[in-house]
């Protein structure tokens, strides 16, 4: 594998590295979604502004700690140079802002509807704040970055029977190489290692980490069973079955291949940060966007997303590289896909060769090449909740 390429990025005050340098507009109430979106699209600095929409309206319930962690972590993702948090003006919002400020010393402005005294004035204040921040953000330049700068997220969605023999093992080759070079790589989606957890636990660096992998899967299955639902009956999804997958265990064995063969350094709770380089498992839902949002809140700066059926989604702050598991889909949905691993099943490339292409693509995207999801303007963002909203 050719490792002559050099990563370049933006070094942050907390030691993390970014591969993008966005101004993030983060609304903390669904009544502000529209307003924030209007500023993003109409401001002259629009190309470097990113923003999200969500359904939260300030409710503080049993998921509050999870919600606060996600908003505050998202605000300081290393791909963001400055963040404008837009709220109503409540103490709960301040607690999110304080949590963000404690994680990274960076420009974080907090603007509220209450202080502005109206929606129009708030819009003006957000636009003015962007204009003030823009010169310093646009003048920040990339510098050569060490391999440890990369925090790689591994994701799959819309899996099919090819996932476990083409795109996922090829991604595993790239992940192993980066881990060997000193980067961080994170496997996730607890549902999608269910049935394969013993194989992953056997690769743990210590017995404690191995037990943590077993425990996290057991805890997950219990929380679903608690709802009176048999997860093995609800999964694989109907799209997975149409793609040729038969059982959740088969899906899991294929999904786990994304993490290659490196040893596991640790297990992370949802949206929690890795503290040293290595391969990790993060406890996230299989829901593509909840996983991606949890990654963003944990300083992940590039994600590779393998897909069998084809899915367009991306993150507001993480470049997301789509790898097709089969050539037929790659050709039929060209504007969703960055790279085709279907050539392995076609017999025209080996797993190692596609792994090398993924490795090089990650470096290129880190250095500024836009992904299909970025070109398409995809900024999906979801709050993951462990409890329903109607209790």
């Amino acid at each position: 594998m050719n490792i002559d390429s050099q990563l370049t990025g933006f070094e942050r005050t907390n030691g993390r590295w970014g591969f993008r340098n966005y101004i993030l507009l983060l609304p903390l109430h669904n009544a502000l979604n529209q307003l924030v979106d209007e500023v993003r699209t109409s401001h002259p600095a629009s190309p470097i502004i990113t923003s999200v929409s969500h359904d939260w309206s300030g409710e503080v319930d049993r998921d509050w700690e999870r919600i606060r962690r996600v908003f505050s972590g998202f605000a300081v993702n290393p791909n963001v140079g400055a963040t404008i948090i837009v709220g109503i003006g409540t103490g709960d919002e301040e607690s999110i802002v304080n949590a963000a400020r404690s994680r990274r010393n960076m420009p974080i402005n907090y603007l509220t509807l209450k202080d502005a005294g109206g929606f129009e004035k708030l819009r003006e204040r957000i636009a003015q704040s962007v204009s003030e921040i823009f010169p310093s953000i646009s003048q920040t330049v990339r510098t050569p970055a060490p391999w440890s700068a990369l925090v790689l997220g591994l994701e799959c969605g819309g899996s099919d029977a090819y996932s476990g023999i083409t795109a996922n093992p090829a991604l595993g080759v790239a992940s192993d190489k980066f881990v060997e070079l000193g980067a961080t790589s994170i496997l996730a989606e607890t549902m999608e290692i269910l049935g394969a957890e013993h194989l992953l636990a056997a690769r743990a660096k210590s017995p404690e980490v191995g037990q943590a992998i077993i425990d996290v899967v057991a805890r997950y299955e219990q929380s679903i069973t608690y709802e009176g639902i048999d997860i093995r009956g609800a999964q694989p999804s109907r799209g997975n079955i149409e793609g040729g997958l038969t059982t959740l265990e088969e899906k899991s064995l294929g999904a786990a291949k994304k993490a290659g063969n490196a040893p596991f350094t640790g297990v992370l709770d949802y949206a929690h940060l890795p503290t040293e380089p290595g391969l990790y498992f993060m406890d996230t839902p299989g829901h593509d966007i909840e996983q991606l949002t949890g990654f963003a809140a944990a300083d992940v700066n590039i994600t590779v997303f393998t897909t069998g059926r084809g899915t367009p989604t991306g993150s507001a702050v993480i470049p997301t590289i789509k790898v097709a598991t089969n050539t037929e889909m790659a050709l039929s949905l060209p504007d969703l896909i960055d790279l085709n691993a279907g050539t392995i099943a076609d017999g025209t490339e080996t797993v190692a060769e596609v792994g090398d292409r993924i490795f090089q693509e990650i470096i290129q995207v880190a250095n500024g090449k836009l992904t299909a999801a970025e070109v398409g303007g995809h900024r999906e963002f979801n709050l993951s909740r462990l409890y329903g909203s109607t209790q």
Binding site: A31, H54, D55, S57, G58, G118, S237, G310, D335, G388
Partner: protein, 268 residues
């Protein structure tokens, strides 16, 4: 005397909107693009996949309530293809009662550009000017925390004129109470937000917001509300008639507020 819109199978509404309904999170971005280009309503949500148990049927039922609302003239359902809640089945459960509904699926549309083109063509084929007809029986939702005296007075006035009232106050947040009022097919809503909550509207239903005089937040935002809490019953009733007849409420004019889809259990 109220003049409404004959929205085909959905009944007579006070507005005539087209809804671009993403049946899964993966199609929400495309739905927004389509809606912007054809002058329709859409919204982002996180449902349709990675959902289990009661949320599968619950989310489907909520989508049917949105798509079949009397202020909606037609609906285009936009799916991805491989999701748990299959868009063609969502569409079937809507068309059963509301035939002016079509379905576009991304994975069979040759990519995002193809899906955008076919969605726009489909949406336009369903559009048309709704006939203006008398609307004699409004259903008015009252949400939040009105003072009891005003609530009683305005309820008397509404019912006395032959209209009906539905009250929703299960939640502190207006956007969540609005979900209950969609299911009740309310034509318009009087919203009395919690003192800690901002005035908020709803994309499919005009919302008249009334400030709470005890709330520092509401006092700071006084010009964003349609009325103050000391509004007299006659003026408030007239406001209802005006908005029903097409006058935009403040939240409606500024497009404040979003559609929130309720969920019952965790995602998977």
């Amino acid at each position: 005397m109220i003049t409404g819109y004959r929205n085909n199978s959905r009944g007579v509404g006070v507005r005539s909107y087209q809804l671009i309904l993403p049946s899964v999170v993966c199609s929400t971005h495309l739905a927004r693009k389509v809606a912007d280009q054809v002058g329709a309503i859409s919204f982002a949500h996180q449902h349709g996949c990675g959902i289990i148990g009661p949320d599968v049927s619950g989310v489907n039922e909520f989508f049917v309530a949105l798509a079949g609302h009397p202020n909606v003239q037609s609906t285009v359902v936009l799916g991805l293809g491989c999701e748990t809640l299959q868009g063609n089945e969502v569409t079937e459960s809507i068309t059963k009662d509301y035939p002016e509904t079509e379905y576009v699926v991304i994975q069979e549309s040759a990519g995002m550009a193809g899906a955008l083109d076919s969605s726009i063509a489909t949406a336009k084929s369903l559009q048309g000017d709704a006939e203006r007809v008398p609307l004699n029986a409004l259903v008015i939702g009252i949400e939040g925390f009105p003072n009891p005296e005003l609530l009683q007075q305005i309820t008397e006035d509404i019912q006395g004129a032959g209209h009906s009232v539905v009250v929703a106050n299960r939640y502190k947040e207006s956007s969540r109470n609005f979900g209950d009022l969609v299911r009740a097919k309310c034509h318009l809503i009087l919203s009395f937000p919690d003192p800690q909550q901002p005035p908020s509207g709803y994309p499919l239903i005009p919302v008249i917001t009334i400030a709470n005089a005890e709330s520092p937040l509401h006092l700071a935002l006084v010009q964003e509300f349609d009325c103050q809490s000391n509004v007299n019953r006659k003026d408030l009733f007239q406001k209802i008639l005006d908005v029903a007849n097409g006058e935009q409420s403040k939240s409606e004019a500024k497009k404040i507020g979003d559609i929130v889809v309720p969920r019952m259990v965790r995602s998977v």
